[in-house]
Every structure is written in C-alpha cells, then in structure tokens.
Symmetry: C2
C-alpha cells in the first residue's frame, strides 16, 4: 500500500489513480464509445469524437484541430495544496498536450472557471496567470472564457485550437517501432502538475520523419497504447526492459511495493508522447532526438494481442491505467 | 419578496439572480477587465476577450468565431428538478446564442462534463442527447469532449466554433435605433432552460440590413445594454413603455411585488438579441421581421449616459442584472 504519511494531502486523493481497478467495461470508455456511435463526422469534420482532438478541413492550409479538457479539485489537483497557479498551468498544459499528440501546433485557447463563491479575485488572477504562462511559452493566445461562482469546488475547462496535418491513433502499421518520449511513471509525485507539453518536440520530430500514429500518455502508458491498438486494429509486443522508467517511478515503487515498471506502465499523467513509425525512421530519430530529449523504442506493432516481455517470458499487457468511473 | 412556496425548488436557487445586488465593482466584471488588459489580441486574432465570441482571421472565407460557457448545478439549473437532458440542452443553447450574438453561424462544438461519481451512465447519455438535440437543430456537430467524475456537483462546459463576419458590441453609433427580439423577463419560470438560440433569425436579419452592434441578453437587458454602451463609448435613451415584456415577467411580478418592467430589464437569461442599427433599417425590419418573430425598437443610441423614460420623466438606468460575485 501507499505510504500515505509521506505524501502531501493532495497526493492521497491522487493516489487512488494508481490503484484504479480495471473495470471490464469502464464507464468513461463505454460513454465515449456510445457517443462516438451517435456522432459520425460529416464534412467539413474529418475526425470527430475519439482521438486526441477533432480535425476539421480548412479551405486553405492545414486542418483545424480542436480539443477540450476539464480538470477539477480533488481529482486532478488539490487546490489547498498546490494553489491556483499550478492548477491553471496544468489545465492549459493538458490541453496543449492533446494538440501536440495530434502532431499539431496550438494557436488559441478559451477557458471556463467554475469556482467556489468564496474564491478571492487574487486567486482567480493567479489561476489565469498560470494558464497564461504555459500558453505564452507556446505562443498560444487565450482569447475568451467564462467564470462562474458556485457552492462547489474548483473545476477548470480549457479548449484549445491548433493547426496541422493530423497524426491519428489509427495509423499504426504492422512492423512499426513503438517509441516514447522522455521517462514515465510516478508523475503523481509532482510532474503531473508542471510538465512541458511536447509541442516543440513534435514539430521537430515531424520535420525529420513520418509518424504513423500518436497519442499522449494521460491515462497510463499501457492504456494509451491500447487506444492506439484499438484504433489501428493491430497488436503490440513491448520490451519491458526498454521502457524508460522515471526516477519518480523508482521512488514511488519503494513506497508502494509495486515494481517501477508497473508504475511506468500504469500511472499516467506523464504527458509524454507515445507514437509509432517505421523501424528505419525510428533508428534515425532515436539517434538524433529532437530538443535533445530522450526517445526510446519500447516495442513493435504486431498483428494482434498486446504482450510484454518482463523477464524473458511474454505475458499479456492489459490496459492498465486511470479511467473515470461512474456508478 | 418572491413567493417561493409556489416555485419549484430549483427556482429558489435561481431566484437569487433576481435580487443580485449591483456591486459597485462586481468581481466577475473586474476579473474580465483585468484579463482583457493582459490579453491584447495579436494576429490572427482580431477580437479576443470581451465580446460574445473571439474572432480569428481566416485565410479564406469568413473569420472563425470561438466562444465558451460553463453552467453548473445549483446556479444555472437544479439537476434534481430538471434532469440531465434539460441541463444538456441549456449548456449547448447558451453557447450557440453567443455565436448568434456575433452574427455568426455555429459549426462545431466540444463539451466537458464534470459529474458526481454516483452519476449513472444513463444520466450522462441523457445529458449528451440534450446537447445533441439542440446542436442538431442548427446543424452543429459535437466533435469532442471530456468527462470527469468527482465528489462535486455537475458542471458542464461547452465551446462552440462558428463562422461569420462579426457584429461586435463596439459598433453602436449615435442615432442608432436599439432593438430587441422577442419578449423579455421572467425566464426563471422555465424559458431559461429551453429557449431557441436566435441563430436563424440572425442570418435572416443580416440578409436584410446592416447591424451595427449586438449582444445576447444573458445577464439582463439593462446590464447587457451597458456592455454595448461601454464597448461603443456611447449612451442610450430607453422608452420603458416600448420594452416587450413577456407573460412570464407579468406572472413573476404578481409574486414579487416588483414591476413587470423591472423583471424585463434585470432578470436576464432571455437569450434574445439586443442590437443597434440605423433608424431607417430598423423601420424595415420591425415591419418585416425575420422568422415571423417580434422585433421591437426600445430606444436610441445617444452621446452618453443611460436613461429610461418610465412615466414621462427620464431616470438613470443602471446595469441591473446578474453578476457572478466572488468574495
């Protein structure tokens, strides 16, 4: 079990994520599938519900990308512990990460803030400054929003628009190398609040090679990999020894008794990129990665199934990770 | 005072709106001003924070319009009384109304739903269907979203994109006629939950005449008029006897002891359009209104001040209406 006394309070609530059960038919996923079945895209929408962002044909230039994310107190952050500035940073960064995961460049964002009626103006200003700091870093303009006061806790919703020829979850091909940026696991120790969305890296990656499929790691490496596999109707073989495990995952593993690899596979909120490309292209970019960041090949796309080699013997890799469950 | 026993429970919470104090410097407005000062738009953004939607230049065709709104349980609706379908309808309609208020046609929308963990899948589906019914009516595609479960109450955020040559709040000219669609006041009795955003009417209006400035009535006729006056740096003279008062405002006035006109001026959430245009154009469109709906001229844009003639003598018309207050 998690050694909660060593963790600040907000991490207790987040710790639930690490042990989220893998429901047979998790409700959030069932909900999204149910919606997707009722929202077949028609022109000018190329891609609707079900990828990291929607894709809308443009009469001129690159398609328009649209994505939205909500984060809230007690689930994605603990306001009393982290303060409004970090909450604002995370709200914006999570959304920009989705545009990066589509291979796009973010352009503008809007945000809604539903805040406790006792919130002070200074706290709302800090929240905005947090969002703006991250937006400014990527030349994204915050062009509108809505603020509401209520008796409930803080909920923030950000919608981001971007441009780019999209890289979808559905483009993985048998034989593709599976790669990941950076190191994963243990983001709960702080990284989940203040990470760098991989916007610049994606631009450089795409200038060097053709990416076939991509997603950002929000729910967990294993679960997000399954999103690619399902969308592409393929399978994967993962080399457990190749997975780039973060120091945080090592630290957390000493407290939880789980293995660092399990944390790397299931924790989520790394906001690194998981993508597939030809083996030849993977050799090029792992040798000369963008922005001097690590890019690691962790496996291969195969016909079906999802297995991981941990200590020689292959075993099934289920979609471990976080799912919002509704009763 | 409001005769609360005659009102369903959700209307009690909404009733606070009717008596919202007019703070000298209301926090929501101060917050938006503070943000606007820190978000000067730069190309391709033509209009950023501060109008009904942002305006982004397009390389081809009409500019892109972007707007976002959040509504939540206990403030904008009472979930236990109205159910998820109406909540969904309102969330979408409020957002489409903003696109209409810019003179645009809505195209796509995304939504986030932050829902109590005990919410059943069927309720989430109903919520989506409510949003979709309204979206379908205007050929708007819901192209993405995010759902989160938490310990708090239901909050919904919708972002809508649209296209159109924008009509801004800032375009009112001295001598303009001030017009309003439909009838206003007392929306709290039910209309605020299930109204028709004036998307079709706006398209027809614009085909017949040039609108100089426009806003939708969400905060209250008087307050929203002040938004136009401030943005356009002009004043207004309103003829109280001309204001088209709804039957709901009459009904509510019998319970509250306030005048029907006060309700019409301050209640808000009518989601009718308030706009200004030349006197000549106003004669044309009041004689031959779009979609067979009433269009009423209620006053004139003047150099400065904001007065209303109730019983002959002019008196000051303050920005009565609803403002989210933070402590």
């Amino acid at each position: 079990m998690l050694d909660t006394p060593e963790l600040p309070r907000y991490k207790e609530s987040l710790a639930r994520r690490e042990f989220a059960r893998i429901a047979a038919v998790p409700d959030e996923i069932e909900y999204v599938r149910w919606i997707r079945d009722r929202s077949p895209p028609r022109p000018p929408v190329e891609v609707g519900v079900g990828d990291d962002a929607a894709v809308i044909t443009s009469d001129s230039g690159d398609p328009l990308l649209v994505t939205t994310d909500a984060i809230c107190d007690g689930v994605d952050f603990h306001l009393a512990e982290v303060g409004p500035r970090l909450a604002g940073r995370k709200a914006m960064a999570v959304c920009l990460s989705d545009i990066a995961a589509m291979g796009g460049r973010p352009t503008v964002a809007v945000a809604t803030v539903t805040a406790p009626v006792e919130t002070r103006l200074a706290a709302l200003q800090d929240l905005y400054l947090g969002m703006k700091e991250v937006a400014d870093e990527f030349d994204v303009q915050i062009v509108g929003g809505d603020s509401t006061s209520w008796e409930g806790a803080l909920a923030i919703s950000v919608t981001c628009l971007g441009r780019g020829q999209p890289v979808l979850r559905s483009g993985a091909r048998i034989g593709d190398a599976i790669c990941v940026t950076g190191r994963v696991g243990g983001s709960i120790l702080g990284r989940h609040l203040d990470f760098t969305p991989r916007v610049r890296e994606v631009a450089e990656l795409r200038s060097k090679c053709t990416i076939h499929s991509m997603i950002d790691i929000s729910d967990g490496l294993a679960r997000d990999l399954h999103h690619i596999l399902e969308a592409s109707a393929v399978g994967a073989e993962i080399d457990g020894s190749a997975v780039p495990i973060s120091e945080d995952a090592q630290t957390l593993a000493r407290r939880t008794g789980k293995s660092p690899l399990d944390h790397a596979l299931a924790d989520g909120e790394d906001f690194e990129l998981l993508f597939t490309l030809s083996k030849e292209a993977s050799l090029t970019i792992t040798a000369s990665p963008p922005q001097e960041m690590a890019i690691t090949r962790i496996g291969t796309i195969v016909k079906s199934g999802c297995t991981i080699h941990r200590n020689g013997a292959p075993e099934e890799l289920p979609p471990m990770g976080y799912v919002h469950e509704f009763r």
